[in-house]
């Protein structure tokens, strides 16, 4: 077969693997049957072999190309920010933004407690002159008020309950006042009553109730030393302590601030 219309440009593209698969197939089939096109294609392939033997890219690059090395920072950037890592970084960014907003920091308004770290937390009931009511935000408390602390725990563990007033007088609420430990065992459940209640005294200002949850009983001296680091520094220090620096062995902490008349 002789070709009346040899298409040199298309054959060149075929040799360079530039054609779509269907085009390449059609042209290859034609070339098989056409002497002139076949001859042209074979010549191109022969020329390609000659060229690559004589003029390699390495030879061209040695004379003409200077490759810019990326700076150290750019190399690190390129290593860290590969397309594969993008979903992971997106997830981390979302977590960094969303998580702080999802941690609810409850106001010190009475019946709500602030739980720092972990899931155990406390609430309370007020008994004033025989009248029992749930602790309410903004309520002012008086000497003689009895506070029953309720706790919620998702596992069997130990709970220490203490209070600190404006004068930094620390009171531990433990059935056995002679015990070297200030923690009592607690059961799984919600709104369970802590054994023992808090009786508010005449001291003015505030009473901060602190609950500490741990897997093992806590030594009273350990908790006392920990709390004494805030002596003279007020309730902000105590809040920060419970939030950021719990004693060794404590898995979670909660506080309630009772403002007195």
């Amino acid at each position: 077969m002789t070709c009346n219309n040899p298409r040199k440009l298309e054959i060149e593209r075929l040799i360079a693997n530039d054609l779509e698969i269907s085009q390449a197939k059609e042209l290859s089939e034609h070339i098989e049957q056409c002497q002139e096109c076949s001859s042209y294609a074979q010549n191109l392939q022969k020329q390609a072999r000659e060229f690559s033997n004589e003029y390699s890219y390495e030879e061209f690059a040695k004379k003409n190309i200077l490759v810019k090395e990326s700076s150290f920072l750019i190399k690190i950037f390129e290593t860290i920010f590969t397309p594969v890592m993008t979903p992971i970084y997106a997830a981390l960014l979302l977590a960094a933004v969303i998580i702080p907003f999802t941690i609810k920091e409850l106001e010190w308004n009475g019946n709500q407690a602030i739980a720092f770290k972990g899931k155990s937390q406390i609430s309370y009931i007020l008994n004033r002159d025989g009248v029992v009511e749930a602790g309410t935000p903004g309520k002012l408390y008086q000497a003689g008020d009895r506070i029953q602390v309720l706790y919620s725990s998702n596992k069997k563990q130990f709970m220490a309950l203490l209070s600190v007033d404006k004068n930094h007088t620390i009171s531990f609420y433990h059935p056995d006042q002679s015990s070297e430990y200030c923690s009592v065992p607690v059961e799984i459940g919600s709104s369970r009553a802590f054994p023992g209640s808090i009786l508010l005294d005449e001291a003015k200002g505030y009473e901060i109730v602190v609950a500490l949850f741990s897997n093992k009983p806590l030594q009273t001296s350990l908790v006392q030393d920990w709390m004494n680091s805030c002596k003279g520094l007020g309730k902000v220090c105590i809040e920060r302590k419970v939030r950021d620096k719990l004693p060794d062995g404590v898995s979670s902490g909660s506080i309630i601030v009772l403002q007195k008349e």
Binding site: K8, L9, E36, I65, V67, K68
Partner: protein, 171 residues
């Protein structure tokens, strides 16, 4: 020498391997010398290395190379005004009846005639008479209509005829 990033170097290497031979051998056809063709090929690929970032469609790389190598070779020819024809790389299988001298004369005449026209006409003429591409191939390559290709060729032929008449008068 050009300074390029590692990524561009890899890309350029890929295009060199794909198209280097095609560009080189057409430069041989235009310039008539292997050494000149190798110089031209290097120039063209260095320009490609500098331009890769700005070429939007990667499937248009071969068109870009054809256009750039054509312009470069014609520019070299205009500087030189003569063509040397080396028998070693005779490639014109589709016009087997012409002698070497005839082919040389044709190329010389084309080179002289091309200087009278703008870049687009020069490209169309070069693709037609030196590369032997078909009109529809040229149209697709240059992104113009086939009628425009024919119009450019007609304009070239008229000018060529006029030049030929003028040359006759001076002989």
């Amino acid at each position: 020498m050009i300074k390029i990033s590692r990524e561009t170097d890899l890309e350029l290497k890929n295009y060199y391997k794909k198209y280097g031979s095609l560009v080189y051998w057409r430069c041989v056809r235009y310039l008539g010398s292997k050494d000149d063709a190798w110089d031209a090929t290097q120039e063209v690929f260095m320009k490609l290395g500098k331009s890769l970032g700005s070429i939007q469609k990667k499937e248009a790389i071969y068109s870009w190379l054809l256009s750039t190598s054509t312009n470069h070779c014609i520019s070299e020819l205009r500087k030189r005004r003569t063509i040397e024809f080396d028998e070693l790389y005779h490639t014109d299988e589709f016009r087997p009846n012409e002698s070497q001298d005839q082919k040389t004369a044709i190329r010389e005449l084309i080179s002289k005639l091309l200087s009278a026209h703008d870049q687009k006409i020069r490209q169309v003429v070069a693709y037609t008479y030196i590369d032997g591409y078909k009109q529809d191939e040229i149209a697709k390559l240059m992104g113009i209509g086939e009628s425009t290709v024919r119009k450019y060729l007609t304009k070239f032929r008229r000018q060529a005829l006029k030049t030929a008449h003028e040359l006759e008068k001076t002989v």
